[in-house]
C-alpha cells in the first residue's frame, strides 16, 4: 500500500467547475448528512482534474462543512483516489489469485520492457502510468487489465501490444 500521506499542493485554490458544482448540489440532497458527500466529492474532483490535490481536499472539507482531517482520511484510505497526477493513460493490471494464475506477470513484465515502467511509476513522456491492483471481479476472463476505466479481458502480450498502439 505504502504511505499516501504526502499531498501535493498546487499553490492555487481549487473549486468545482460548473458541471461538477451542479452535480454536487444534486447529490447532496440524496443523503441525510453532508458528510456522506466526502466520497462523491472526491470522485468529482478526480473526474475534473484527474487527481486530488491538497487544495482540493481543503475545498471539499470547507464546502461540506467538515474537518479537513476527515477528507484526508478518506482520500488516503481509498486507493483509487489519485493523490498525484497520473499518466495520460492509466493502466491497472489485476494481480490477485486467478489473474496471477493465468499470467498477469507476463503482462507486467511486458509493460516494463516496452514502456519502461514498473507498477507505481509514470513513463517519462507522461503517456502511461502503471498500477497493480487487487481482484477486479473479472476472474473468468483472466488476466484482465483496466485502462482509463475500461476493462480489457483475456489479455495476453499480443492483445496488449495492439491496445497500447491505440492509446494516444
Amino acid at each position: 500500500m505504502s504511505d499516501r500521506s504526502q499531498l501535493i499542493s498546487t499553490g492555487t485554490p481549487f473549486q468545482f467547475d460548473k458541471e461538477r458544482d451542479a452535480e454536487f448540489e444534486r447529490l447532496v440532497k440524496r443523503y441525510p448528512t453532508r458528510e456522506s458527500m466526502i466520497l462523491p466529492a472526491l470522485w468529482l474532483t478526480q473526474e475534473q482534474e484527474g487527481w486530488i490535490s491538497q487544495e482540493a481536499m481543503a475545498y471539499i472539507a470547507d464546502r461540506i462543512g467538515t474537518y479537513a482531517s476527515k477528507v484526508y482520511e478518506a482520500a488516503t484510505f481509498y486507493t483509487m483516489y489519485h493523490l498525484h497526477p497520473m499518466g495520460k493513460n492509466h493502466i491497472c493490471v489485476c494481480r490477485t489469485l486467478s489473474c496471477w494464475l493465468r499470467g498477469k506477470q507476463e503482462i507486467v513484465d511486458y509493460l516494463k520492457d516496452e514502456i519502461g515502467i514498473k507498477p507505481g511509476q509514470i513513463s517519462d513522456d507522461g503517456k502511461f502510468s502503471l498500477e497493480e491492483v487487487e481482484c477486479l471481479g473479472h476472474c473468468g476472463t483472466a488476466p484482465v487489465v483496466q485502462v482509463n476505466g475500461e476493462f480489457h479481458e483475456n489479455m495476453d502480450v499480443d492483445k496488449l501490444k495492439s491496445l497500447l498502439a491505440t492509446l494516444k
Binding site: T33, K70, Y81, T96, L97, E134, C135, L136, G140
Partner: protein
C-alpha cells in the same frame, strides 16, 4: 447442468433496457407484491429459504425479520455490490445484463421492510457497470417505478448509487455503511447490529445484489418453485464463477448441491492443458483449499462445504493445477489481505504485515522452520480476535495451505535449517 433463473434474460439482446426487460416480465410482480402485507412478503421470502449470496449465507427473510418495529426512525436498504472477494465475478452480470431484475428486487424488499431509501454500494472499479446501473435506474424513475409513487402505488422509493473507491473491506456490511456515511471503511463492533442501528443510526438491511435479484422469481413463482432447485437446506440457484486452471472459465448459473468435481469437468471443461488437479478453492479466496481427494465428496452447498471444513462463500471456484507453487499462492493471498486491511485493530493491522514479511522471507530463501511454524501460529493468534472477519478471511485459507501443503513450505527452508529434516 446449467439453469436460467437469475440469468434468464442475460442472453436476450438489450434486456438491460426497460422496454425489452418489461417484455420479458420485468416489474410484473409489483401488483402482486403491493397487494400483500409486508409481513407476508417477509414470510414468503423466509419460506423460500433464500440465503444471502454475498458469502455469509444468512437466510434473507430471517434477517429482515430482525428489524425492530415502531422505532420512529427511517429504515434503510443497502445493496452490497462491492464484489471484491477474489474469484468472485457474478453480480456485475446482473448490473449490466439485467439491472431491472435487481431494481424490481429492491422494490420488493423495500416494501417488505418498510424502507423508502436504498443505497446501492458499488465498488469504484466497476466503471462500465455503474454507468449501466445508473442508466437503468434513470429509466426506472422515468417510467415511474422509482420515485414518489412506485408503479402507481402509494409507496415512495428513492435509489441512490454510492461509489466506493478501492477497498475490499467495504464488502463487510458495517464497513459499507461507514463508507456511505462518508468515512473510512472501518467495520463497526457488533452489537449493535445494523438491523437495529445501521445507516445513520437507523434500522438497516444489507443484502447482496444477487440476493435482491433473486426476489422477483420467488414472488412470481412462489417459495416451492425456488426450493425445487438446490438442496433442502441450500435451496435455489447461484451464479457460480469458475476460474483458474480450467479450459472454460466463466460464470455459470447452477442449482446448489451439484458435485464439485463434476461441475469442474462437465461445465468448465476440466483442468486445462491436460494437467493434473492439485487443489480447489471452493468459494472465493477466503475459503480453505480442498485437496483433490477431499473434493471427491464435496457438493456445492453450504452444508457439504462446512462438513469438509471449508465454506460455500461466494461460489467463486478456483482450480489449481499441478504447476502451482502453493507457497507463492499463499504469498499472493496474504499480500491481498494485508493490502486490504483497514488498519483499525491491532492483530490484523500488525499481524498480516508480519505474516507477509515472513512468507517473503521464506520465499527469498532466508527462512527457517521457525518461520514456517510462526506463520502457522499467527493464523491462530490473529483469527477471531479482531473487529471483523477480514483477518479470518486471510488466516483460514492460509492455515489450510500450511496444513495440507506443508512439505512445500518445508522445502523452501530445508537448506537453511538442519532441524527441518526432522520436521514432518
Amino acid at each position: 447442468m446449467e439453469v436460467k433463473i437469475l440469468s434468464a434474460k442475460f442472453d436476450i439482446k438489450d434486456a438491460h433496457k426497460i422496454k425489452v426487460a418489461k417484455e420479458h416480465g420485468a416489474y410484473s410482480t409489483l401488483d402482486k407484491v403491493f397487494a400483500m402485507k409486508p409481513e407476508d412478503v417477509i414470510e414468503l421470502v423466509k419460506n423460500s429459504g433464500l440465503r444471502g449470496r454475498g458469502g455469509a449465507g444468512f437466510p434473507a427473510g430471517v434477517k429482515w425479520g430482525f428489524l425492530p418495529k415502531g422505532t420512529g426512525k427511517p429504515v434503510y436498504l443497502a445493496v452490497n455490490s462491492d464484489e471484491s472477494e477474489p474469484a468472485t465475478f457474478k453480480d456485475r452480470y446482473i448490473l449490466v445484463k439485467d439491472p431491472h431484475s435487481m431494481i424490481e428486487g429492491i422494490i420488493i424488499c423495500s416494501y417488505a421492510i418498510g424502507s423508502h431509501d436504498t443505497y446501492i454500494y458499488i465498488r469504484g472499479e466497476y466503471t462500465t457497470q455503474v454507468k449501466a446501473l445508473q442508466a437503468a435506474i434513470d429509466e426506472a424513475y422515468k417510467e415511474g417505478y422509482l420515485g414518489d409513487k412506485v408503479a402507481g402505488h402509494d409507496f415512495k422509493l428513492n435509489v441512490t448509487v454510492h461509489r466506493g473507491a478501492g477497498a475490499y473491506v467495504c464488502g463487510e456490511e458495517t464497513a459499507l455503511l461507514e463508507s456511505v456515511e462518508g468515512r473510512k471503511g472501518q467495520p463497526r463492533s457488533k452489537p449493535p447490529f445494523p438491523a437495529v442501528a445501521g445507516l445513520y443510526g437507523c434500522p438497516t438491511i444489507i443484502n447482496n445484489v444477487q440476493t435482491i435479484a433473486s426476489l422477483p422469481f420467488i414472488i412470481a413463482n412462489g417459495a416451492d418453485a425456488y426450493k425445487a432447485y438446490g438442496t433442502e437446506k441450500s435451496p435455489g440457484t447461484h451464479l457460480f464463477g469458475i476460474s483458474g486452471h480450467v479450459e472454460k472459465p466463466g460464470m455459470y448459473e447452477l442449482p446448489l448441491g451439484l458435485p464439485l468435481l463434476e461441475v469442474i469437468d462437465k461445465v468448465a471443461g476440466g483442468v486445462w492443458k491436460g494437467r493434473k488437479l492439485k487443489g480447489i478453492i471452493p468459494g472465493g479466496s477466503s475459503t480453505p483449499v480442498l485437496l483433490p481427494e477431499e473434493a471427491k465428496t464435496v457438493t456445492l452447498d453450504y452444508e457439504s462445504m462446512a462438513e469438509h471444513k471449508t465454506m460455500f462463500g461466494s461460489g467463486g471456484i478456483v482450480v489449481l493445477d499441478e504447476t502451482v507453487d502453493m507457497v507463492h499462492l499463499v504469498k499472493n493471498l496474504i499480500d491481498f489481505y494485508h493490502h486490504e486491511s483497514c488498519g483499525q485493530c491491532t492483530p490484523c493491522r500488525e499481524g498480516l504485515g508480519w505474516m507477509l514479511k515472513i512468507i517473503k522471507k521464506i520465499l527469498s530463501g532466508d527462512g527457517t522452520m521457525v518461520d514456517v511454524d510462526l506463520l502457522r501460529e499467527l493464523c491462530d493468534n490473529i483469527e477471531m480476535k479482531t473487529v471483523c472477519v477480514l483477518s479470518a478471511a486471510c488466516t483460514m485459507p492460509v492455515r489450510s495451505y500450511l496444513d495440507k501443503f506443508r512439505h512445500e513450505f518445508v522445502a523452501y527452508v530445508t537448506k537453511n535449517d538442519s532441524s527441518a529434516a526432522e520436521a514432518k
